[in-house]
Each structure stands twice: as structure tokens, then as C-alpha cells.
């Protein structure tokens, strides 16, 4: 496979893409020309404005098709590759049992005003996600799910009371970057409440997080969209239990 690729419509190398957008102008001939101009500036040329529709008197919605002249160089793609081995539930349990000799304590919550427990429940609840059981189903994981809209100080108190090894926080609401602000607040609160080296492993997850942002957010690991409970469990073993683990 070549390292240089273009989008694929129905013929190799055709570069075809589709985009849709709204311009704040009334729908007329000029508007369609404006849409084609924008598409050209995005690298789509020749642009085919296949659909234009007025939304009220002063906006127009467009659908545009065309070949994009940009190329993708796969050698320059940067992503966070999984830095740990995927383990089965049995392997997770046996690693904790033999190396740690006690169950790993995990406290989970949705913090701030976020009431969307879908994410944290998918990871923690026995029921799990897409047929894969959640962390509660692991014999060697002691899971405390605090649910929705947990205040950061309450989360810290509870995590300390439970002697949590890891704290899992889910953030779905992203308006005005609430997920980032809440995560930083949470990380700062733990660093304030715990002596250095005794801060639990801090893990956040949610569909709009950038997996490369852990350092900037002050947490140990960020999980993005599509993360499975097994991935989280494997990571916990990697970070907390395996020889050479950070703590």
C-alpha cells in the first residue's frame, strides 16, 4: 500500500468528497457561486454544488461534491497507539491477584453538571457495552460507581475513603469546553488533597476527548470514543499492577 492516499468515491484516485455547510446569504445564483468558491478554497475543484436550499430569508444550505486535490501522507499521521497489551477478563483478574494480592479499587463518576451516565455505565456496569461486560463483572476489581453530577470535592472524599487505586471520570457534555474544565478541576483537586505519589490513577473518558491530551489535562490517561471495558481494565493492569508500573 502506498503511503500517499486520496479519498475514494468509486474509482481509485478520484479524490471525491462531499461536504455540507450553510452560508449567511439569501439563496440565489450568487449564493451557489459563493458555495463553489468556498469549496475551491477547501481544495475541492471542480466543485459540484448538488443541492442548495434557503433556510429562511437570509441563510442557504449547500451540499457540495467534488475531487479534493489534497493528499494524505500516512507517514505523517500521529495517533496515540495503545501502549498496553489487551488482556482477557481472566488475565486481568489473575494479574491483580498474583501481583497485587488484593482487589483493585476503582471509583467512577460523571462530574460537574454532566448527567450523561451512558459512558461511565457502559464501562462500569455489569451489563457493559456491546455484549462486553463492564468492570463490575471482574472478580478482582472493586467498583464504586457514584453516578451522575458528582461534585469534585465529593469525588475526592469518596475516592480517599475507598482508598481508590484509580478514579474513572466520564464527560459527555462539551459545551464551552465543560469537559476540559471539569477534568482539570478534578485533577487539581486530587493533587491538592493527596500527598505526592499517592494520587490515584486518574482516567477520563468521553466521545469528544483528544487521546493525546492527558498531560495537558493533568490526568494519566484519556480514552476517546469507542473504548471498551476490556481496554480500560487492561490499561489499569498495565498502569497499576504490572512490574515496572508507575506506582
Amino acid at each position: 500500500m502506498s503511503d500517499i492516499v486520496r479519498p475514494y468515491g468509486d474509482t481509485s484516485g478520484d479524490g471525491m468528497v462531499q461536504v455540507s455547510f450553510t452560508l449567511p446569504i439569501p439563496h440565489d445564483k450568487r449564493a451557489e457561486g459563493a458555495a463553489a468558491q468556498l469549496a475551491a478554497k477547501m481544495g475541492i475543484e471542480p466543485a459540484l454544488v448538488v443541492h442548495a436550499k434557503a433556510i429562511g430569508p437570509s441563510y442557504t444550505f449547500f451540499v457540495v461534491y467534488g475531487p479534493v486535490h489534497h493528499l494524505v501522507d500516512l507517514r505523517e499521521v500521529a495517533v496515540v497507539e495503545r501502549e498496553f497489551a489487551m488482556l482477557s477478563a481472566k488475565e486481568v483478574d489473575s494479574a491483580i491477584k498474583t501481583r497485587l494480592g488484593r482487589p483493585l479499587v476503582v471509583v467512577g463518576a460523571c462530574i460537574g453538571t454532566d448527567a450523561h451516565t451512558v459512558g461511565i455505565d457502559a464501562i462500569l456496569n455489569v451489563k457493559g457495552f456491546a455484549g462486553e461486560k463492564g468492570l463490575e463483572a471482574y472478580a478482582q476489581l472493586h467498583v464504586v460507581n457514584l453516578g451522575a453530577q458528582v461534585l469534585v470535592p465529593d469525588l475526592v472524599d469518596r475516592a480517599l475513603a475507598e482508598r481508590a487505586d484509580a478514579v474513572l471520570v466520564s464527560q459527555v457534555v462539551t459545551q464551552r469546553d465543560a469537559h476540559l474544565l471539569n477534568t482539570r478541576e478534578m485533577a487539581a483537586a486530587f493533587r491538592e488533597a493527596c500527598p505526592a505519589g499517592e494520587v490515584p490513577l486518574l482516567v477520563v473518558g468521553g466521545p469528544r476527548f483528544d487521546e493525546g491530551a492527558a498531560g495537558a489535562l493533568g490526568v494519566d490517561r484519556v480514552f476517546g470514543r469507542g473504548t471498551s471495558p476490556a481496554e480500560v481494565a487492561s490499561y489499569l493492569v498495565h498502569a497499576l499492577v504490572n512490574e515496572g508500573a508507575a506506582r
Binding site: S20, T22, T113, A115, G147, Q149, Q175, A178
Partner: protein, 534 residues
């Protein structure tokens, strides 16, 4: 059994339906008694709002909070805020409620629990002030009736319900008007996400909110005026919705009545399950707020859709039915009529489940059949909206079709960008096209649609009803509070002695006398109220 035109689409056993309602009443009755035996800080503050107290200090702490806190610290709320407050005014400690609240905020006022004639006189004064607020609610209801008569209701059901949520009331107003022009019959201004956990109602017009706009009296007034303008333009009365939930539920309900809002989200258990608000606080607040809604002619919307976002929509289908029955019982007990019950349910079955569409039709028809006179609130898919907007658009189309086919009352417009962004202008426009296409293309389809006796749809609806009855049976034995504590609904475990707002719950003593409660519950014996503590 007949399946000809006019025959019910589901043939539920009328004995099973009656049994389900009886069980809901039995499960609900102890909760009503619990609600009657308690008051809350927010009920007392709502009472003062009815009596005309509004505004806030320079730190934006409302005067109603100051006065209720002062009475609570001084003499307690066990007999209601009214007698001590109006007694202080009678004794010349302050000229009116506002003056009293200001003095109370600096604790420079002597409060006492009056008795005998002083108490009767204070309560007479309180009744007069509160009566003014109730009259304003009554006048607003008459105004709505007049506007609906003049401008008209939406031409057909379901009413189309759109959400506006910019955080800035001055941005919300033109967006709401644009939504009305685009076909919305009901505009909901979603609240700032943090508001449900605030133990006070913010004041004034607000321009800052997270994922929504604060519910304030001034925001209510501004938005209702904006919709009155656009109602004239589009030739139909466009309804306004907000959220009577969270720690200030009774106050928000009161403000809604005072500013002529038309619908309010008002679930009996939502705050408990999804906001971790104390169960007793919620049930007490809920009852008072529903009495206000009943008086104000407001349609409530209940939140059963939420159960399906946390639990599996097939396995938990019967919990929706149970919650609908409980919401119906609590609503009617508080004086709401069938036309005011926007009982909720949702299209949340995993689309990968075989025959998911048939299951959705069965569940929607079950709700329709159980509550034939209620304007059911039909909620779009959210849980299985993955970011694949194309698939999401199709899912919304199926949702809209079921809404039309099964005669839902209020249809919340689904967005293909659910879980991706707050809706763009084009998302709303596409979503409304989707709704119009599905409703118009399928209009009248119900005439041709008769699920066969003992076919899949009929059997599934009977099965859900049977499971609901089984669960209600367990709840009656176990008590509803225990069921909530055990995680029966939405898989949330919420014990009665925990949760936010518990410290605002007060057990009434025999001398409790609140003229607002008396005016909202006309069958209460008046003399007992007045002389209880005499």
C-alpha cells in the same frame, strides 16, 4: 374480537389495565401522605413568590431565600413561613415582604410564632397577598385561552416541539421565533445544565449559561412576549416550555404560572434518579408544583425517556409504563386533568435488535392505549445516535413515522447531530423536513393499520403491561421509596435518607398553615388550618 375500523388497535384486557392503575394508586398513596406531611424550603419560597416577593440582593441571592432562611433559623418552618412573616409586618417590624426580607437578611428583625388572634390576622393578611398571585395565574390562564381561541392551535397532532439552547436569552428569542416560523408548535428553552442543583432561582435576564439558558422570571417573560409576537405572525399560538425540576421545582412552577408558560417538564422521579435529589424533597416539591400547574392550565411533560437512555429499552420497557402510571396517579391527585398529562416515552431501542421497529410500535401503542386522553410526549432516539448522521437521519425518520402512526400528542424533533454538536441552523431545518415528510406521507395511515389479534405487536404490548403489573406488585409490597433505593428505575439506587436538598425538608407540625396550599387544595378544611396552632 373485532378488528374493523374504529376498533382499538390493541386489545388489552380491561381488567389488567384497571389492576395496573389500582396498583399505581396503592404504591403512590403513601408518597402523597409523605408529601402532605412535609414542607420544603422551596415550597415556602414559592409561597412567598405567590405573595409577591421577588428580586435579589447585590450578590444575587433572592429575597425569598433570605426570608425563608431567617424564619427557619428564628422560629422554624414547621408551621409555614406565612404566620411569622406576616405577623412581623402586622407588628410594624417591616412595611412589606420586601422590607422584611431585607431586614431579615441582616437579622435585624424580631420574628415569632404568633398564636390566637395574632395568628389568624397574620394568616388573613398572607391569604390576601397570596390570593393576588393566584389571581394573576388565573388571569394568565384566561389570556392563553383567549389567544388560542383567536390564533388557533396547531393544525394537527402531534405538536412539533423544538429545543432552543444558546445560553443567552437575547439569542434564544430570535432562534425561537425562527423555529416557530420553521414549523415549531412548542418551543422549549432548555436550562443551563447546572441549574437543577442550584437551591435558588437566578434573577433577571441572563446571557451566560452552560448548554442552556437559566430559567428566571424575567427570561420567562421575555420569551413569552417574543413568542406572542411570532404567534400573531404565523397564525397559531406557539407554546413555551421550561423545566420545573431540580431543587427549586415549586418556585419555577410558580414563576411559570405567573408568566404564562404553557408546558413544563415535571417528572415525579427524574430529580431523584438522575440528579440525586433527595426522594422526600422531590415528592413534596413535585406535589406543590403540580398543584400550581393544574391551576395554571399548564401541560406537564414527564421524563420516562430517561430510563431508556440508561437501561436497555427492551428489557426496561415496562419501567416506562410503571412510571407513566405513577406519574398519572400523582398528577391527578394534584388536580391535573388528562389533557395536561404529557406522559413521556421514547424511541430508544437499539436499531440492531431484530424487529426493533415493531417493538417500538408496540410500546408506543401501549402508551397510547393506556392513556387515550393524554397528549403523550414522544421523544427521539439519542442513545443510538452514534455520530453517523446519515444513519441517524434515517432513525429519526422511523421515529417520526411511529409518532404519526400511533397518534402521539407532542413530538420532540430529533436531530441527526445528536451527540455531536448542539444543533446547527441546518440541522434543525433538515430535522423539520424529516418530521413534515414522515407525518404528511403517513397521515391517515392509522386507518389502514390494524395489528392482527394475537400478532407480534398485540402480544408484545400485553407482555410489557404484564411485566409492569408484576413490578408494581413488587413496589406495593416493598414501598416505592424502597424500590427507588434499590435501583428499580433507570438502574439508579437512591435511598430516601440521602441526596441533595435533604436539609431543606421539614416535617410539618399540626399547626402548619399555608394559605397557598389551602387555595390550591380547595377541599381542605379551612377552620382547622386557621386554628390548628391557636
Amino acid at each position: 374480537m373485532s378488528t374493523g375500523p374504529g376498533a382499538p388497535l390493541l386489545q388489552l384486557d380491561p381488567r389488567a389495565v384497571a389492576r395496573a392503575r389500582q396498583l399505581a394508586a396503592r404504591a403512590g398513596r403513601p408518597i402523597v401522605e409523605l408529601a402532605q406531611a412535609h414542607t420544603t424550603a422551596s415550597v415556602e419560597r414559592a409561597t412567598l413568590r405567590l405573595a409577591g416577593l421577588s428580586g435579589a440582593d447585590h450578590e444575587r441571592v433572592p429575597w425569598v431565600n433570605h426570608l425563608v432562611d431567617a424564619v427557619r433559623d428564628g422560629v422554624g418552618l414547621e408551621q409555614c413561613v406565612c404566620a411569622p412573616a406576616f405577623d412581623a409586618i402586622r407588628r410594624g417590624e417591616a412595611t412589606d415582604l420586601l422590607d422584611l426580607a431585607q431586614r431579615a437578611s441582616s437579622r435585624s428583625v424580631q420574628l415569632r410564632q404568633p398564636s390566637g388572634r395574632d395568628r389568624s390576622a397574620a394568616l388573613t393578611l398572607a391569604r390576601r397577598s397570596i390570593g393576588t398571585g393566584i389571581k394573576r395565574i388565573d388571569r394568565n390562564r384566561a389570556t392563553r385561552d383567549r389567544l388560542v381561541a383567536r390564533l388557533g392551535d396547531p393544525p394537527s397532532r402531534p405538536w412539533i416541539y423544538l429545543i432552543v439552547a444558546t445560553g443567552d436569552i437575547y439569542e434564544d428569542m430570535p432562534q425561537a421565533q425562527a423555529a416557530a416560523r420553521g414549523g415549531a408548535d412548542v418551543v422549549a428553552v432548555i436550562r443551563s445544565t447546572g441549574q437543577s442543583l442550584l437551591d435558588y432561582v437566578p434573577e433577571g435576564a441572563t446571557r451566560e449559561g452552560y448548554a442552556g439558558t437559566y430559567a428566571t422570571q424575567e427570561n420567562f417573560r421575555l420569551m413569552r412576549a417574543a413568542l406572542d409576537d411570532v404567534s400573531k405572525e404565523v397564525g397559531r399560538y406557539v407554546r413555551l416550555t421550561n423545566y420545573a425540576s431540580g431543587l427549586c421545582m415549586p418556585e419555577i412552577a410558580t414563576l411559570a404560572g405567573l408568566e404564562r408558560l404553557d408546558m413544563m417538564l415535571n417528572d415525579s422521579m427524574y430529580g431523584i434518579l438522575f440528579r440525586d435529589i433527595n426522594p422526600v424533597r422531590t415528592f413534596v416539591d413535585q406535589r406543590f408544583s403540580r398543584q400550581i400547574h393544574a391551576r395554571a392550565g399548564i401541560i406537564i411533560n414527564t421524563g420516562e425517556d430517561n430510563y431508556l437512555t440508561t437501561a436497555d429499552a427492551v428489557e426496561a420497557a415496562h419501567t416506562v409504563t410503571v412510571s407513566q402510571l405513577l406519574n398519572e396517579y400523582f398528577a391527578k391527585e394534584a388536580g391535573l386533568a388528562d389533557w395536561q398529562l404529557g406522559l413521556g416515552h421514547a424511541f430508544e431501542i437499539n436499531p440492531d435488535v431484530p424487529q426493533s421497529f415493531r417493538l417500538e410500535v408496540a410500546h408506543a401503542l401501549l402508551a397510547r392505549t393506556l392513556f387515550p386522553d393524554a397528549p403523550l410526549k414522544w421523544m427521539p432516539p439519542t442513545k443510538h445516535m452514534t455520530g453517523d448522521i446519515f444513519r441517524g437521519y434515517l432513525l429519526d425518520g422511523f421515529f417520526n413515522l411511529v409518532g404519526g402512526l400511533t397518534g402521539q400528542g407532542i413530538l420532540l424533533v430529533g436531530m441527526m447531530t445528536e451527540a455531536v454538536v448542539t444543533p446547527w441552523l441546518s440541522d434543525r431545518d433538515l430535522a423539520l423536513q424529516n418530521v413534515r415528510y414522515a407525518l404528511d406521507a403517513g397521515r391517515g395511515l392509522v386507518e389502514d393499520f390494524h395489528p392482527p389479534v394475537d400478532g407480534f405487536i398485540q402480544q408484545r404490548s400485553r407482555q410489557v403491561l404484564a411485566e409492569a403489573i408484576e413490578l408494581l406488585d413488587r413496589i406495593v409490597d416493598d414501598t416505592l421509596l424502597e424500590a427507588i433505593a434499590d435501583g428499580t428505575f433507570g438502574l439508579m439506587r437512591r435511598p430516601a435518607d440521602a441526596g441533595k436538598g435533604l436539609d431543606g425538608v421539614v416535617r410539618k407540625d399540626d399547626g402548619y398553615a399555608n394559605p397557598a396550599v389551602e387555595l390550591l387544595e380547595p377541599d381542605l378544611a379551612e377552620p382547622a388550618l386557621l386554628e390548628g396552632a391557636g
